[in-house]
Symmetry: D2
Subunit: 109 residues, 4 copies
Amino acid sequence: MNDIQEITEALIKFRNERDWEQFHNPKDLAVALSIEAGELLESFLWKQYQEADKEKVKEELADVFAYSFLLAERYGFDVKEIVLNKIKKNGEKYPVEKAKGSAKKYTEL
Amino acid sequence: MNDIQEITEALIKFRNERDWEQFHNPKDLAVALSIEAGELLESFLWKQYQEADKEKVKEELADVFAYSFLLAERYGFDVKEIVLNKIKKNGEKYPVEKAKGSAKKYTEL
Amino acid sequence: MNDIQEITEALIKFRNERDWEQFHNPKDLAVALSIEAGELLESFLWKQYQEADKEKVKEELADVFAYSFLLAERYGFDVKEIVLNKIKKNGEKYPVEKAKGSAKKYTEL
Amino acid sequence: MNDIQEITEALIKFRNERDWEQFHNPKDLAVALSIEAGELLESFLWKQYQEADKEKVKEELADVFAYSFLLAERYGFDVKEIVLNKIKKNGEKYPVEKAKGSAKKYTEL
């Protein structure tokens, strides 16, 4: 069993033991993910990134991953497949010769 | 090589080809993650979750994963380890007997 | 003195007494605003909107306003002017005859 | 009529002309606000704040204000009152003698 399956199964087991599937509709999962992304961001507020508390980053990033994997599972997405496909698409939006060394959005390249 | 390593290597390769490491400090990665979480959320705005466009969800969730994996890599976090540890911690905050069937925050249980 | 000026002056006084202007650059103010928007959203997580705690909504919305006014002040924006201008622009993107009763984004109308 | 009333009335007029009240429940308004806060944040991504496009900041901040005022109106909150009350509360969490010159959260002061 690969890592992503293993993580996903642990998350589903945790959820089912608590009978939380009823709350985990995709919209609320996306809301939860956005809230956790905000908490992660709080690690860096009013700071240079070097001053962020690595333990807090770890905890909050774990929450972001948890809701991301649950959302992927809910839709039956294969995480590896969707990320590799997105990289391919982004390669077309950001060709190396244009995008190299530039932080511009593809609409401005 | 497991899936997470494979995804991470593809992301790093994409980034390095474009010389983007200079922009990818942890604070901006967390900012990017939060922006993408907002775009994912947009799939569900003014809608019941059943009406969301599955393709848009897939694209935006892929972006969320991409920045999450990049941030994990930047800190040297093992994604499986941090998520499984977080599940364990959450098990203490949300014991089955108290949390079952309840959507309350642990501070209110 | 109008309401917005009065609120803004109270916020600036609070900030200056604590010598926080040094932290309040526009990027971190936008980060803070996004974090507070996430905390506001947490009031509605796993819930129908009717179940949200009105007091929590009030507190978090006040924080959202605080950072929004501080950011407007930092750029010298007149809040009334920028919102009324945006309404005008949105009127062009969403003409009544097309947008009436529809939740679609203007790109799909 | 003060500025906040004037802005709010313009927003409500715009909404009612398009028959959008049906979509504007508080949960979706909070979701919309969070999305707009993400778009505002995008102005600063991969950048020093000085490099942000002031026009984009203005547009996105106007959207943040629009949903904030609509949410306040939906709950019948007086914006000036809730912000001034929050400043007072924050004054207790962040007393000048402790908080001066510090970016720490009140839980760490």
